[in-house]
Symmetry: C2
Subunit: 413 residues, 2 copies
């Protein structure tokens, strides 16, 4: 694990307000490393609804299967997250570990096991010893407090160099409601979805189906538009919890995502997702540059997404950015290999607003010195105009550095 | 450019016999670097047939378009290859450069421009000054000789650390015929196709349509089964030329690829393609390990190919191999993200013949020390048994090292 904080980390972390109905506690359960905080318990008030979006992997982790199975209950009383071990590809033992963890948490909180949601991150293929949660979760259930959002975000980190948090407050009817989110993920990040773990909490009273619709609509341009290395985790999990506590302060109960009263909330909710997703890109393993890829003029938005992802996942584009080289030839290559409609002779490419290629050839006004200067900045925008239609998209990624190789070349050791 | 030869390079290079009807010449035309051999002319006897397979990029280079257009003539008298400049994404100028190059070669050889085949490799987006070929090609046309295969292979290199050549001799009817091939490519290598440039020559008398069918069938398990970085070049070109000179020695004229007399030839031809493709993987930029990914028990061969490519292109798998870490969790991840049918609980994974995972969990007999020892070898086989059907496939790749990032982080400078 790298210890230096990413140079792209936010310089200011927001103060995180409390959310009525949510209490947090963290502990060191010794899952993988001794003395490292590695378990988070979030307790949720009675009446909390839940929604979730998960990895598309055909080999999902045991906790992902657990959560998928129990979303249909629509109710959540606890979230247990551990780092250090992903409980993925652990066979029957893995399923037993999830059941045992949920049972321990349920006993500690006096709820049903199917109201306990789980997420695990870390090494794949190692059996998770869930008995380590025994005692720990009981203590946490008693001692959890409404604050400690930073500590919670820190407890779920693996190769992350900084904790990822975001918050928003917004009016819902006559009440002010809060949305708090946290995320972890720095590698093995690719759609769908683009984070390993993220959890969003609100006190707004939103029914589970509406929350699910909101979450599904929100991930498209946020978590699903981030890629670090094109590798999709077996554990990707995004869960949203709505305690509904704001109903007592006059917030209307929302049963449909299309409810017009939810407009401002939806915007704020998506903003929280976008902020968390951007932080994931900013903490890309070994990243020195945040890269925004904008594709416009594609035949469709879906084609634009494919082309943007082809650019964002190209090792040659990413190493060029690491080398501060405006190598638009490699961008052309990545456009060409995406398999989507593209006409070489209509293509324009810009780096940080400076057009380097136009109509299928180098821009006549190309000025190497000017472009080189722009490439030294920590934030790089690659913009591709295809000139074919109105399809557009935007994805975030980071550069590919030797540090990425170093981090991943000896992660297990 | 890296100067050290890949540790995976073949230790013995074959002696390359002459091929009747083929003469080779190389020169330094100063395309990009002064004093570096950067142009290859192959002259081809009258009656030579030609076949080709090219990049699937939607933004192909000007020479790729030139070759595609002129394959229909079925006849070739010359091949001109330059390194240093890919003549890709060079707009109208690029098309003019190909036409001018062909005209210069045609004049030097006394043939038609449409009998001249072209390939360029190197930087994308820089205009290629074809006037530099003037004079050079005339001299080469006069001085070309039947030998010099090693020099020819060396002339077309860019970031390659060794020239790639292969040869086979085989009976066709009563005659012995020869197949010689050369290739270049070390990065931006991915199907389809998996090399930037490769040229295969034979004196067998094979009609163009039969040669085309042979080539198309041959690339599937050879060049299209190699990936270095998942990036597909705009210039990928594989051309095959058959001078037919062996007809005078009694070789039968072949008009169909399915001709039973072509059986041994086809095997030898595919072996040449396979040897060249493997050398490309062995020269992967920064490579320290040759990695063979074998997938079996998939629902179909196509599904096996997708899964094998997902593994072979995964940065996390490739960095793990670089770190000599038998991180089969990442292999599970790559299987899972391939989007093909897979059942976690039926999966088995081996590294160099040692089974590490079985039926969705760590192999009970797993011995870390034994596996770690196996991972220190320069050649690593990752085998995945899906347990679903009879689909199988094999692809070659290499590890992802800091050296890859170094090579590609400052290629243009």
């Amino acid at each position: 694990m790298s210890s230096a904080v990413s140079p792209l980390a936010p310089t200011v972390f927001p103060a995180m307000p409390e959310i009525e109905g949510v209490r947090l506690g963290t502990a060191a359960a010794g899952i993988r490393y001794k003395g490292r905080t590695d378990v988070l318990l979030a307790t949720l008030a009675e009446g909390t609804t839940v929604a979730g979006v998960f990895t598309t992997s055909k080999c999902p982790s045991a906790p992902v299967e657990w959560c998928r199975d129990h979303l249909k209950g629509k109710a959540a009383r606890a979230l247990v997250v551990n780092s250090g071990n992903a409980n993925a590809f652990t066979g029957k033992t893995g399923r037993q570990a999830t059941a045992l963890t949920a049972a321990i948490a349920a006993k500690a909180l006096g709820c049903r096991p199917d109201e306990v949601f789980l997420a695990s991150t870390g090494v794949i293929g190692e059996p998770l010893d869930a008995t380590k949660f025994d005692g720990v979760l009981g203590t946490l259930a008693r001692e959890a407090t409404p604050g400690h959002w930073h500590d919670a975000a820190r407890a779920i980190m693996t190769t992350d160099t900084f904790p990822k948090i975001a918050t928003a407050t917004v009016r819902l009817g006559k009440a002010t409601v809060t949305i708090n989110g946290m995320a972890k993920g720095a590698g093995m990040i690719a759609p769908d979805m683009a984070t390993m773990l993220s959890f969003v909490f609100t006190d707004a009273p939103i029914a589970a189906p509406a929350l699910q619709a909101l979450l599904k609509a929100g991930v498209g341009s946020t978590f699903n538009a981030v890629t670090i290395d094109g590798d999709t985790s077996t554990s990707d999990t995004l869960l949203a919890f709505a305690t509904g506590a704001a109903a007592r302060r006059g917030a209307p109960r929302i049963s449909r995502a299309s409810d017009p009263r939810l407009k401002a909330f939806t915007r704020a909710f998506n903003q929280v997702l976008a902020t968390l997703a951007e932080q994931v890109a900013r903490d890309g393993e070994g990243a020195r540059k945040l890269v925004e890829v904008v594709v416009e003029g594609a035949t469709t938005d879906a084609a634009a997404r494919r082309i943007a992802m082809s650019i964002a996942n190209s090792p040659l584009v990413k190493t060029a950015i690491a080398g501060e080289d405006a190598n638009w030839g490699r961008v052309v290559m990545a456009v060409g290999k995406a398999g989507q409609p593209a006409d070489r002779d209509k293509l324009s490419i810009s780096f940080n607003g400076i057009r380097v290629a136009h109509k299928g050839a180098r821009d006549p006004a190309y000025d190497e010195a000017k472009v080189s200067e722009a490439m030294t900045r920590p934030e790089i925008q690659i913009k591709v105009a295809l000139g074919l239609g109105k399809g557009r998209d935007r994805v975030l990624t980071c550069d590919l550095t030797k540090e990425y190789v170093a981090i991943n070349g000896d992660y297990r050791s």
